[in-house]
């Protein structure tokens, strides 16, 4: 039985230092690294060879398999290597290295896709390489595929951007409101009955004002101001707070008649429909206590972190930790050569003081994790279950505690006074349960 109706959330420090600064475009880096797994789904397969000359926007890897997504050259130049690569999160992938010739010569074959039917539209979106830029990196065509089956009543345009520091979606709304309008107009064609709700946290008044201005005459678009709390932008949370709906375990969001699409994703879709530009560049927030001049920078996908930091005035002090993504959910990287990917919205570098690791101690059962969990889980129960010796018992307990409903928002780890890595344990628990039941199924055959 739940004691509260409202979803729990956290007040985290915003640190949106770059919110008021216009994003800048910079010269391309000398080299880009394009991983084949910049999306959720099967890896892309390279279609170029070492030594090939490629132009901006040219296909370098095609999609292959379930929810795979093509990759395009993000600079013009020569393919110097196609090699195995270990990513920041430890997963192994293949990367294509392209040495830039500095010319940024655009592929002359790129032009606005001619689409009439839904099938043609979805095929075009598939070829664009666009993925959800809010963080999940789920291929956009996979999300829009729901249009074939479900009647979409509400399109929730996610401009919450609840992670501290990051302002790239914010800047998109302020600087490229025209693209947001165009993006919505593209979608309208295929879901004429849908209502659009642009949802923005209250700490972005200029973005709210700009969106209200450009959609003033459009009755199908509502601009909704949301409370500035973390994790307001998480799928389950924003869905509940805006529509009052809940996705059940194993249920698809679209079956509720709702699609959630990140505002920058929408702008990239608009750009693609306008002139055929696939997803090749993006706005990245460079910030943190070790960055000299925090700012938003538009760079080609695959640009190494080091280059972005240089463009933001370099490091002001010896960094202790460098993150790809926000401080709540981002990955710490071990090397500044790590490239930004399609869904990377920030590079954050922190000084030694801000990078101190906290020593975990035993759970004191204080219940802070339970009271902050937006989806009413008991994170410490997962932590306890993971210490069970018996694997069957462990898997069953985790399932019983609805482990799979965990949205991995890190609120539990953030508040834990014993400094236990609760979210990380949940991720490990999910991997364990998947493996355990897969092995059982295998053994049963």
């Amino acid at each position: 039985m739940n004691f509260r109706k409202k979803l729990s959330t956290l007040k985290v420090p915003h640190n949106k230092h770059t919110a008021g600064v216009h994003s800048i475009c910079v010269d391309p880096p000398k080299e880009v690294l394009l991983p084949m797994t910049m999306h959720a789904g099967a890896p892309a397969v390279p279609v170029v060879a070492v030594g090939d000359y490629v132009r901006v926007g040219q296909l370098v890897a095609r999609d292959e398999g379930r929810f795979s997504c093509p990759v395009h050259a993000t600079v013009s130049g020569t393919v110097t290597a196609i090699e195995p690569y270990q990513q920041a999160d430890g997963t192994k992938t293949t990367i294509i290295r392209i040495e830039s010739d500095g010319k940024m010569e655009r592929d002359p074959n790129l032009k606005a896709p001619k689409v009439e039917t839904l099938d043609e539209f979805l095929d075009a979106v598939k070829s664009s390489g666009i993925v959800g830029l809010g963080g999940a990196a789920f291929p956009l065509y996979g999300k829009l595929d729901a249009l074939r089956r479900n009647k979409i009543e509400t399109v929730l345009v996610n401009g919450a951007e609840c992670e501290p520091y990051i302002t790239s979606d914010h800047r998109t709304m302020v600087e490229h409101s025209d693209l947001v309008v165009k993006g919505i107009n593209v979608l309208k064609k295929y879901m004429p009955e849908a209502k659009f709700v642009i949802s923005i946290e209250a700490n972005k008044p200029d973005a709210i004002e700009e969106m209200k201005r450009v959609f003033a005459d459009d009755p199908t678009v509502e601009v909704r101001e949301l409370e500035t709390v973390y994790p307001q932008g998480a799928k389950q949370v924003i869905l509940y707070n805006v529509t009052g709906k809940v996705v059940k375990g194993g249920q698809r969001l679209a079956s509720l008649g709702v699609i959630i699409i990140n505002v920058t994703t929408l702008s990239k879709l608009a750009q693609f429909m306008e002139d055929g530009t696939p997803l090749i560049d993006r706005c990245v927030t460079v910030d943190g206590s070790a960055i000299a001049e925090p700012k938003n920078i538009v760079v080609p996908v695959g640009t190494p972190a080091k280059y972005l930091i240089e463009q933001a005035g370099g490091l002001s002090t010896e960094p202790g930790k460098v993150l790809i993504g926000g401080p709540m959910l981002g990955h710490a990287i071990g090397s500044l050569d790590e490239p930004i990917q399609k869904a990377t919205n920030a590079i954050l570098a922190f000084n030694k003081k801000d990078s101190k690791l906290l020593e975990p101690s035993d759970c004191i059962h204080c219940g802070r994790c339970v009271s902050v969990c937006p989806v009413f889980l008991n994170p410490t129960a997962f932590d306890r279950a993971m210490r069970l010796e018996n694997e069957n018992e462990r898997a069953d307990t985790l399932e019983r505690e609805s482990l799979n409903q965990c949205i991995e928002c890190a609120c539990c780890s953030y508040v834990c006074p014993a400094h236990r890595p609760l979210m990380e344990t949940n991720k490990q628990a999910k991997r364990f349960v998947r493996k355990h039941y897969a092995a059982k199924k295998e053994g049963g055959k």
Binding site: M1, P327, I364, P421
Partner: protein
């Protein structure tokens, strides 16, 4: 450039820590500790010192002997020692304080794995152990700043129909009893501090004390003054504020905490009203500590998008 730190997300933290929480509890216990020395004299200070030192030293030695990482830095041993001391009267000899604290720390807490693994509140269990082993724990001792004729605690006086102290003396704690249970004003001060610091939920002590109050109102047919005396007397305030809000041994859910507190109140009333024994708070909390995992299970939240199992 030196090596970069690679660690799991999140990379920022609220700043909360176990020892900060324990420190807050100690700060919340300071007013009543000072009050106990003022009311009961230096003997109170001796008892507090004996219990706290024994608690810290015994946990330190236990960790050393079993080869565990030293845990006295989390300050929970200080809290246990202090709480136990405040639940004893000045009539208790120092050696008994030492034995009781040893039992609380070693047998109730450390043997089960230390802080977070104990099934019952160490201070409460230590007190109950001393009640059973040495019989005289709470009663018998008199404040040194007043001369009272009777040597009974207000609860004993209430039970036996004796003369009870005036209401202002009840609130200030100038009457017989355990050194830390009498001064209601100081206890409430600690309660407010812990609520402000978000260490405890306000509704746990309120539900506990409220339940006892309502039960007495019902039992006495609406005798407000009597019910008021009943909640002010004995260990109800210190138990409800500092023991029924213990994290480790109470349910983790909001609803569970309330169920726990109300049940504590009911059991306290039943023991006090129907049994020969005048004090029921320790036993009620101890009984509910044991039931806590079940309450937690029955009051589990329903996950958003999931189903209750």
């Amino acid at each position: 450039m030196e090596k970069l730190t690679v660690s799991a997300a999140p990379h920022i933290h609220s700043g909360a820590s176990t020892n900060r929480i324990m420190l807050d509890v100690i700060i919340a216990l300071l007013p009543v500790s000072i009050a106990s020395v003022v009311i009961f004299g230096m003997k109170a200070l001796v008892i507090i010192a004996a219990c706290v030192i024994t608690a810290v030293v015994s946990e330190f030695l236990f960790d050393k002997i079993v080869g565990k990482k030293c845990t006295i830095g989390d300050l929970s041993a200080v809290v246990t020692g202090l709480l136990l001391a405040l639940n004893l009267s000045t009539a208790v000899p120092v050696w008994q304080c030492v034995v009781g604290t040893l039992f609380a720390i070693v047998c109730v807490k450390c043997i089960f794995g230390g802080l977070g693994h104990n099934f019952a509140n160490p201070a409460i269990t230590g007190r109950v152990f001393m009640l059973v082993a040495f019989s005289e724990v709470a009663g018998g001792a008199m404040p040194t700043i007043v001369e009272l004729e009777a040597s009974a605690t207000p609860l004993e006086q209430l039970a036996n129909g004796g003369v009870v102290p005036t209401l202002d003396k009840m609130l200030l704690g100038i009457h017989g009893g355990a050194i830390g249970e009498t001064c209601i004003v100081a206890l409430v001060l600690g309660f407010v501090y812990m609520v402000v610091r978000k260490v405890i939920r306000w509704y746990v002590p309120v539900a506990f004390i409220g339940t006892v109050f309502v039960c007495y109102l019902a039992a006495t047919g609406g005798d407000v003054l009597f019910a008021f005396y009943e909640i002010l007397a004995g260990g109800l305030f210190i138990g409800a504020i500092f023991m029924a809000t213990d994290y480790v041994t109470t349910p983790i859910t909001d609803l569970g905490k309330i169920v726990f507190a109300v049940c504590c109140g009911l059991i306290t009333f039943i023991i006090r009203y129907f049994c020969a024994y005048p004090e029921g708070v320790s036993f009620s909390i101890l009984i509910m500590n044991i039931l806590s995992p079940y309450i937690e299970k029955w009051t589990a939240n329903t996950p958003l998008g999931g189903s209750k199992l």
